[in-house]
Amino acid sequence: MSEVATVAIGWGLTFVVIVTYSLWVVSRGRTIGRKIGIGEVHQSGQLQESDLPTDT
């Protein structure tokens, strides 16, 4: 395997691993959040104290 191919595979693999892990973490947070009825809350306002889940 040539040097350039090794570098490409190494950087590519690292990128894929980090991105996959990040997406897994975020999506797991979303799934569980939705399951326990937290829903997504708007970040802008000073947070509505209502229990209504506000899907965006």
């Binding site: 395997m1 040539s2 040097e3 350039v4 090794t6 570098v7 595979i9 190494g10 950087w11 693999l13 690292t14 691993v17 980090i18 892990y21 990040s22 973490v25 975020v26 797991r28 947070g29 979303r30 569980i32 959040g33 399951k35 326990i36 937290i38 997504e40 809350v41 970040q43």
Partner: protein
């Protein structure tokens, strides 16, 4: 439920959004610096570009494991005094360890590829490589231990002890290249020694370390929040199961009689 107000968001907050965007931007710059701007090495040629992934990865892994150890210590020392029984520290220890394991894995992968083109082999059981794979496996064990069902505080205590034992290996991995003869080269940078690395490569390496730190911090924060959500979900599930059992009781009089 007042205790939930802090957690009643998804895992992103303005801070982590900024951190996340910063991490992506820094990674793009890192790729440009590492892959195109920094020069090829006089001996290794283009293969030297693995340096900017391999070395920062293990630094961040070390850093994460330090964080795991400190959190575990605080958990053991303060768990009784805190209202949440120190579970904040337990979550921090767990999330940092998981990110540390990911980066240790990346260190191994990038190291093997780098080894193939420079040493001529993917793997050799020399002291550095052996202790690094041991580090990877012990922290995997730590993560497995965290999943063993038990009372959260008991489980946290077990995990904390395991984390502190596992950490013994971190300095061994780092100094293995000085203590034993290894195929692996000596530390790329160390305190009190002139870096034997040319300016552009040196700065690219430091910049890469900074980038990976940002990405690692973002991951640890998000993972921490997911662990908190998992805890809420588990508590909720338990409550639901209990209350559904209670609702069954009045209709099924014979069963209720047997139980009590």
């Amino acid at each position: 439920m007042p205790e939930r107000t802090d957690d009643s968001k998804m895992t992103a907050t303005p801070l982590t959004r900024v951190l996340g965007i910063l991490g992506i931007a820094a990674s793009v710059v890192m790729a440009v610096l590492g892959l195109f701007i920094s020069p090829p090495d006089v001996v290794q040629g283009e293969a030297v570009r693995m340096l900017y992934l391999h070395v920062p990865s293990i630094w961040i892994a070390y850093g994460s494991f330090v964080l795991t150890s400190i959190s575990s210590l605080l958990f053991l020392a303060r768990s009784k005094r805190r209202e949440d029984s120190g579970r904040h520290y337990d979550r921090l220890a767990g999330s940092a360890a998981e990110v540390g394991v990911v980066f240790t894995g990346l260190t191994l992968i990038t190291g093997m590829l780098w080894g193939k083109v420079t040493w001529g082999t993917y793997w050799q059981w020399d002291a550095r490589l052996t202790t690094t794979v041991l580090l990877f496996v012990t922290y995997l064990g730590y993560l497995a231990l965290r999943r063993l069902p038990a009372d959260p505080v008991v489980r946290g205590r077990r995990a904390a002890v395991m984390a502190l034992i596992s950490f013994i290996n971190v300095p061994i991995v780092h100094y293995s290249v000085d203590w034993w003869r290894t195929l692996h080269q000596k530390a790329s940078l160390s305190v009190g020694r002139r870096p034997e690395i040319t300016g552009e490569m040196y700065w690219t390496l430091l910049y890469s370390a900074l980038t990976v730190t940002i990405v690692g911090a973002w991951l640890i924060i998000h993972r921490y929040r997911v662990i908190r959500l998992e805890e809420i979900r588990d508590e909720e599930n338990l409550k639901m199961l209990i209350s559904s059992r209670h609702q069954e009781k009045p209709t099924d009089s014979t069963a209720a009689g047997e139980v009590s």
